[in-house]
Symmetry: C2
Subunit: 183 residues, 2 copies
Amino acid sequence: MARAQNDTKARIGEVALELFGRQGYERTSLREIAERLDITKAALYYHYPSKRDLLRALSEPLRQDAMGLAERFGERSDEPREVLGAYFDLCVRHSTLMVTLLHDLAGLSESGLVEEVVAWRRRLDVALVGEDAPIPARMGAVAALGGIQDIAVLMPAEEATLHRGRAVEIALAALRVGMSGMD
Amino acid sequence: MARAQNDTKARIGEVALELFGRQGYERTSLREIAERLDITKAALYYHYPSKRDLLRALSEPLRQDAMGLAERFGERSDEPREVLGAYFDLCVRHSTLMVTLLHDLAGLSESGLVEEVVAWRRRLDVALVGEDAPIPARMGAVAALGGIQDIAVLMPAEEATLHRGRAVEIALAALRVGMSGMD
DNA sequence: GTCTATACGTCGATAGAC
DNA sequence: GTCTATCGACGTATAGAC
């Protein structure tokens, strides 16, 4: 029945997220996950077609959120402060998952998230400095997004949130120095 | 004889670097490396005690270089421009290896480089804003280093080198905005 | 000192019975 | 929906040839 299906599937996801986060994707075997739930490896395969799909399912919320952001700033924006602020908020909102995956790069690789993050950031680059910006301007955009992302992910979430305004100003300064001299 | 030892060991390293870079660490099996050299898996085991050690050996030059930088700026520097420039140069100098590892996060994880990079960057944070800097100042340092690192790694090496001065100025601007208001 | 032959245990994944 | 049984490939390990 549908009830049991959702129950088991959800419980598998919970256990997997905990174990992946604690000891990493590669070091967590399907046998280990199955034993915690008192089922067999083969039962997992009824709910998820592969170990990789199980991992991907865990990062789906972040994926959805980022797609929304990319669509919102699909073309060049004249409000860079808004773009940088929204990107900061997204990084903070999912910082737990991001840190979990960051501490487990093998899993991050397998999740396919990296390629997507690179693609999203390119779209945000365009939103910040336009399509065919000169090299220095693109440098400013890359540094602004890379800098604000590092603040959100590397620093404690509470500290980052408390000084959100300053974080945006820092990124904005990098962006401006990159663009100075542009027409 | 010592000659043969170096030859085989070096050839293993070359093939491994190429295959790891092309298809990733996890997806490259020791059997595959061995077959390319017309030797057996067990022969690899003679030269490198494990697959992990083989990978670590490949990132040794970067490791040495970064250790030198960390020691050079072990304590707070009053020349942030110099610190940022030196970090930029290091990222560019090893950008091929860094990009290779970046495209293969599973390998990056196994190499143990991430923890070291985080540690080096913390030392550079201290060199930039001091030991017990307030949160906004630390934000500036994190954004400055994260931004300049992204420029060096994400942008084409030629473009980055050509505009090295601007990259340093961008990072410097982020650092300044973070520190503004500090005593 | 350098390498081969062979094996062990574990992994992700599949087939088919209940 | 879950089981048992099994698969091929993997990293690792050791004994012994040369």
